[in-house]
């Protein structure tokens, strides 16, 4: 039993705060107003005909004596019923009055919350229709209960069902504070108001958050137009904008800015959402409430421009928007669905699914509520985004001329040697000095002590044998750490090696030292130099036909920059087992750089994220065998800073040089700077000239016709690298006073600007570089 109170009691201020706090900017508020207009025009409300569906946003900050104001004038004509409904906070019927079906939700709060929170002066709604005027509004200090309590404006006698002389007179009075006459309105709006004999004006004075009350009209219009809550209104209603009586956008209706699609992937790409979708844990969710609701669809679009880099125009639209039949219910950045996915920066889209309503509609409709249906649909969408993003990535990769690449590789090797003259082997540009010592007084560093006459070839010979899976190609120079020495034991750099196999029927070795197994069995490999006069020790090789691979451990948390070995126990077709068989390794993250894996199973955490790592031999579709159960690797933030590798830093070339972290050729990446260094590179003390970066690929393409331009670019990058190495040394060896991460942060910011700013600048400057003349 319970003896109830006579009414539910709410704390007025607390409730007002709770239902209005989500609105925080004028573009959000105006978007809510626009939605209300669209809703008011529907057949069950004002019933505005297609030809009359227009409105005008009025911005005024030109009157030195009066306050700035923002208003939205539409042709609907709010009645007493409408302004009374407007007066009620949190009315769930506000948008669906006299209608059985659910419409785009206006909550009964959005526009009102805006008028309550973001204006210092009075705010009101005034409606003229059927020869009467009604007006209600707010007044009082922002954020107070007093302001949140609506009332007739200026009082009931003058604001409630007041007979009017004519619509035109009322319109003239309403526009006066904006310094406008009805004749100044867009023709279509004026005509519709007069022909219908009705209008509604919602407005607020003294808008907050504008510097000195000056409205940045162009920016506000831009932001409003790209707000996802405005989308439907902009599609269905002709919305004009005026600032101090002057039409904006050339007097034309506001449009959603067009996004030029990615060439050859113009789309839109439409996918029907299956009626049932699985979750990660195996559960299945229905997307149609078991057939009771319509099926949904996913629409993906592409952008010619990198969306997150275009801060003002495209970044706000780099989203997955969620819609039901009638309304936008929010959005998520694409990066939430597919983090670290190259190519995804060019993809955006919409999920249209009626079943999301009402269960997943959150207050304010910024994001859909979390839950199994959204999770399942997101999984579905992320797979489709990945497919499309892969297509974009493929098209972004430049096909570089192989012959030129070989030449550049050779040039780069020479420049790499050259730059060592300016560095010491510990990576700094000067010999270590005592405290207070003057580097000027110290002698220059001695030149590196290299030999030139090959006398012996040193290899790290595996004990007892080098085992490799059939189908796994290995770069022997890296695996065996081949080094040529002169008679004095000094390293002979850049000495060409020839590689040999005793039984090519088991394994061949090409001129670059790439071992390619051809059949199970045993053989020996070795290297020679100086036309065969110098020969390395012979290395026994066993090629295994892999029958089973067991990987362990099954889960690894790897701090960034740290390494751990995944042990792969291989069983061959003879039932023999070993854990030292070289295999091919891969992982399933869309970002290939999350981890770097060597053929021996050593994994380095290179970027934050998670992936499933697996290993095997051969093409799985052609009889190759891979581990059935992968290893879950999570790269996490570590407490210790990565340590730089020893020796001279090396400048390597993408598309040609072997990555010491993987023993495979590092491919270039258009989303990385031209001078590129990852965490794993830092640990190996290498840098990459990234030929897929925008300006590097441009310079490379010009090389055939303008070799000077290329060489200038190449040399500039070598100098940049040396400068960074020296700065890195300077900023990290000053002792305990220097924070360890200082340089890392500095470098990160430098790279970010290289990618974000320099690439955009480059895009704008290309024509100038090619043809000269005026700057863009």
């Amino acid at each position: 039993m319970i003896e109830r109170d006579d009414a539910i009691r709410f704390h007025e201020q607390g409730t007002l705060d709770a239902v209005t706090r989500w609105i925080s900017s004028h573009d959000e508020g105006i978007a809510e107003w626009l939605k209300n207009v669209r809703r008011a025009y529907q057949a069950d409300r004002a019933g505005v005909a297609d030809g009359d569906r227009s409105a005008v946003l009025l911005l005024n900050d030109a009157d030195p004596a009066g306050p700035a104001r923002i208003g939205l004038l539409d042709v609907g004509g709010a009645t007493l019923e409408d302004v009374t409904a407007w007066s009620t906070w949190q009315d769930p019927e506000a948008s669906s009055r006299s209608r059985g079906t659910t419409e785009e939700q206006t909550q009964g709060n959005g526009g009102k919350a805006y008028m309550y929170r973001l204006f210092k002066g009075s705010a009101r709604i005034v409606g003229v229709r059927d020869g009467k005027r009604n007006s209600k509004g707010f007044e009082g200090k922002a954020g107070t209960v007093e302001r949140g309590t609506p009332g007739f404006v200026p009082d009931a006698a003058s604001g409630r069902e007041v007979p009017i002389a004519s619509v035109e007179v009322e319109l003239r009075i309403a526009l006066e504070p904006y310094g406008m006459d009805p004749e100044d309105l867009p023709r279509r709006v004026r005509k519709s108001i007069l022909s219908r004999g009705a209008f509604t004006l919602v407005e607020g004075t003294e808008p907050l958050d504008f510097f000195r009350g000056q409205i940045d009209a162009e920016e506000l219009i831009r932001r409003t137009a790209r707000h996802e809550q405005s989308t439907l209104a902009l599609q269905q209603v002709q919305i004009y904008a005026m600032h101090n009586g002057v039409p904006l956008e050339g007097g034309k209706p506001l449009l959603l800015p067009e996004i030029p699609p990615y060439p050859e992937l113009e789309g839109p790409f439409v996918y029907q959402i299956p009626e049932e979708l699985p979750l990660d844990d195996g559960q299945v969710v229905t997307t149609t409430e078991n057939g009771a609701r319509p099926k949904g669809r996913l629409v993906l679009l592409t952008s010619r421009e990198h969306m997150p880099l275009a801060y003002k125009n495209l970044r706000p639209r780099w989203k997955m928007s969620y819609r039901t039949n009638h309304q936008m219910i929010g959005s998520k950045p694409i990066s939430d669905l597919v983090p670290n996915m190259p190519g995804a920066a060019f993809v955006y889209g919409t999920i249209e699914l009626p079943t999301l309503e009402p269960g997943y509609v959150d207050h304010g409709r910024r994001r859909p509520k979390d839950g199994p249906l959204v999770e399942a649909v997101d999984l579905f969408a992320s797979e489709k985004i990945k497919e499309l993003a892969r297509g974009v990535s493929q098209r972004r990769s430049e096909n570089l001329d192989e012959r030129s690449l070989d030449e550049v590789h050779e040039e780069n090797s020479r420049l790499n040697e050259f730059k060592n003259r300016f560095l010491t082997e510990d990576g700094s540009g000067e010999a270590p000095t005592g405290e207070g010592g003057d580097p000027e007084d110290d002698p220059p560093p001695p030149p590196p002590d290299y030999g030139s006459e090959a006398d012996s070839i040193e290899l790290t010979v595996p004990d007892p044998v080098l085992r490799v899976g059939l189908g796994v190609d290995l770069h022997l120079k890296r695996i065996l750490a081949a080094t040529v020495k002169d008679p004095a034991g000094r390293t002979v750099p850049a000495c060409e090696l020839e590689w040999h196999s005793a039984d090519p029927g088991v394994a061949t070795v090409d001129s670059t030292g790439l071992l390619v197994p051809t059949a199970a069995g045993r053989t020996e490999v070795w290297a020679t130099a100086s036309g065969g006069e110098v020969e390395s020790p012979r290395v026994p090789v066993e090629v295994w036909t892999v029958d089973h691979v067991l990987l362990t451990p099954r889960e690894i948390d790897l701090p960034l920059g740290r390494r751990q070995q995944i042990v792969a126990e291989v069983t061959n077709d003879q039932g023999e087992r070993a854990t030292d068989v070289y295999l091919s390794w891969s992982h399933d993250a869309e970002d290939p750089m999350i981890v770097r894996i060597r053929p021996s199973g050593w994994v380095v955490g290179n970027r934050l994220g998670s992936t499933l790592v697996t290993a095997g031999a051969g093409d799985p579709d052609a009889g190759g065998v891979w581990a059935r159960i992968p290893v879950e690797v999570s790269v996490v933030r570590g407490e210790e800073e990565p340590e730089r590798g020893s020796g001279f830093p090396r400048l390597l070339l993408t598309g040609r040089d072997l990555d010491p972290a993987t023993d495979a050729i590092r491919e270039g990446d258009p989303d990385q700077p031209s001078l590129w260094q990852e965490v794993s590179d830092f640990e190996h003390n290498v840098w990459w000239l990234n030929l897929q970066s925008a300006e590097a690929s441009f310079a490379f393409r010009q090389r055939a016709e303008d070799a000077t331009l290329w060489r200038h670019f190449h040399v500039q990058k070598v100098m940049d690298m040396v400068t960074q190495v020296l700065m890195q040394d300077e900023f990290t060896r000053k002792g305990d006073d220097e924070r360890q991460g200082y340089w890392a942060e500095h470098k990160l910011a430098f790279d970010r600007h290289q990618v974000h700013t320099v690439q955009q600048m480059w895009s704008a400057l290309q024509d100038y570089v090619v043809a000269g003349g005026e700057l863009p």
Partner: protein
């Protein structure tokens, strides 16, 4: 043909599955177990003459506890583990039988498969197992083997037995599950393999090697009761 005894045991396992929600770490009291079993079959688990009104706690204790040789209770069979007096949890072996005994949907089955995945992952990911793969002469000291089993000198004999046989039973239950389903792997709906029979067999070889190598230590710790 199932006997009445088997039916009661299966009912109890189904009740244990319901109480634990398939989570091997979740414990439940004998009262919770009884009420779950009684809710399923009031005739079998109800107090005589008041079957619909009250459960009979004597009946459950008859099924839980051993009643002499040849009549082992559900705990003695390694299907449930007694955590504390009157508090139990499912063993992997018990979970496998419980899933067999229940007519749960494929989602529940997959959830159970994930329990086995985690159990096998724990075994094959253990540093002692990894060291053994690299060199079968490892582990060389009982301390490393004890780390794998979760026992050390001073661990009560009962716990030592339970932990070592627990690994055996987990591996055997997983193997049996695979064999009974006629598959070499357990996978999820996305096609991801959760458990591979060959890995399980390899883990069993490891367990056998450990037991053989450290049999004397185990016999000392269990006061000669370890076979």
């Amino acid at each position: 043909m199932a006997t009445k005894k088997t039916d009661l045991r299966q009912q109890l396992l189904r009740a244990a599955l319901a109480c634990s929600e398939g989570d091997l770490r979740k414990t439940f009291s004998s009262e919770e177990l009884l009420v779950a079993a009684w809710a399923d079959d009031r005739t079998s688990w109800g107090l005589r003459g008041y079957e619909r009104e009250y459960p009979d706690s004597n009946r459950i204790h008859r099924e839980l506890d051993s009643r002499g040789k040849g009549n082992q209770g559900i705990v003695g069979l390694g299907l449930l583990e007694r955590v504390r007096p009157r508090t139990y949890r499912l063993t992997p072996k018990g979970l496998a039988e419980a899933v067999d005994a229940s007519s749960e949907d494929s989602g529940a089955r997959e959830k159970t498969d994930r329990v086995f995945e985690n159990e096998i992952k724990r075994i094959v990911g253990h540093p002692a197992f990894v060291a053994w793969l690299k060199d079968p002469a490892n582990p060389k000291s009982f301390r490393d083997a004890g780390h794998f089993w979760g026992v050390a000198p001073g661990t009560p004999a009962r716990v030592v037995r339970q932990r070592v046989t627990g690994v055996d039973e987990t591996l055997e239950a997983t193997r049996k599950l695979l064999v009974e389903r006629g598959v070499e792997q357990l996978g999820d709906q996305h096609g991801r393999i959760l458990v591979d029979l060959r890995d399980v067999e390899r883990a069993r070889e490891f367990q056998r090697a450990l037991k053989e190598r450290f049999g004397d230590d185990l016999r000392i710790l269990t006061r000669g009761e370890f076979p």
